[in-house]
């Protein structure tokens, strides 16, 4: 996973997340949208054959003076907690 910030300001961040596809990006976007201080989160991905930017670019907009990078980190933690909780619930049922 290679990160490259393409645009950045106090409340907005665009970051390229190399090597990922919808599988992870959509989960991450979902986690970001659950975050209280995130007002908008989206990602853009182009098909392989388009010849342009094919790596996903994640854009986050925050409110209340929260650093978007912190929000991203918290979302990553949130995804990790979700996977742990899911595994535990699955193993408990299995």
């Amino acid at each position: 996973m290679e990160l490259r910030v393409t645009e950045s300001s106090d409340d907005e961040l665009s970051i390229e997340i190399g090597g990922e596809d919808h599988t992870f990006m959509n989960v991450l976007k979902g986690a970001l949208l659950e975050h209280d201080d995130v007002s908008a989160a989206t990602y853009d991905m182009n098909p392989e054959q388009s010849g342009g930017q094919t790596e996903p670019i994640l854009t986050i907009k925050t409110e209340g003076g929260v650093d978007p990078l912190d929000a991203l980190e918290e979302a990553a933690v949130n995804v990790r907690e979700k996977t742990t909780a899911f595994r535990e619930a699955f193993e408990a049922a299995a």
């Binding site: 996973m1 989960v27 659950e34 980190e73 990553a76 990790r80 899911f86 595994r87 049922a93």
Partner: protein, 249 residues
Amino acid sequence: MTEEYDVEFVEREDRKARFLVRGVTPAFANGIRRAMIADVPTMAIDTVRFVENSSVMFDEQLALRLGLVPLTTPPEGEFTEDDTVTLSIDVEGPATAYSGDLVSSDDLVQPADENVPIIELKDDQRLEAEADAVLNRGKDHAKHQGGVAVGYRHLQRVEVGDDVPEFEEQERRIVRGVIEEDGELVPTSEFDHDLTNRYPGKEVRVEDVPNAFVFHVETDGSFTVDELVTRAVDSIEARAIELEEAVQL
């Protein structure tokens, strides 16, 4: 933020299962589904060296067929992406070469099924080859896809209402998946997927239960359903941890 998930099995076999997950967001459910299909590595034959092939098929046709034979995948951590396992096959006609004729050099990597036909050999035809199996993901080639027929549906809640007007002909009401009836899970196959069989002469209302998904998972025999699901979750977790660490720098 602590997540509360609840998993309940509806159907359970080694290679095929149906289970309900409550409290899961659509985004997360889809992430797991996609990870099961494309991101869980399995073993499959990738390179074949032919010693003799006097069959009616070209070497590369047979190589493709050998590649598509599902192989059992060793436990996590036993193999890395660069390791190879050699399998050999030697069949002389008249006979049919089956996946069961493959002889593996590693007990952990064996054909998952013995009865996949590779080619029918006539008199004086012979197939002798050596093949290398590698670990890779479904994203790179469908032969590495451990999960086949992986999907999910909303759990559906059925509410029984009034009687249907006496002289009205009742229309069929088809639902597929699993329904919830007073907290009890009923696969729709039990009543031929037709709600009028279960509730004759009654009005019924069907609605999706929010954030409750019934997963249907089938594997190609590379590993059990449990293994596939946990490995898919692991792969998402690994990426979340990687991102977390990358952002902290």
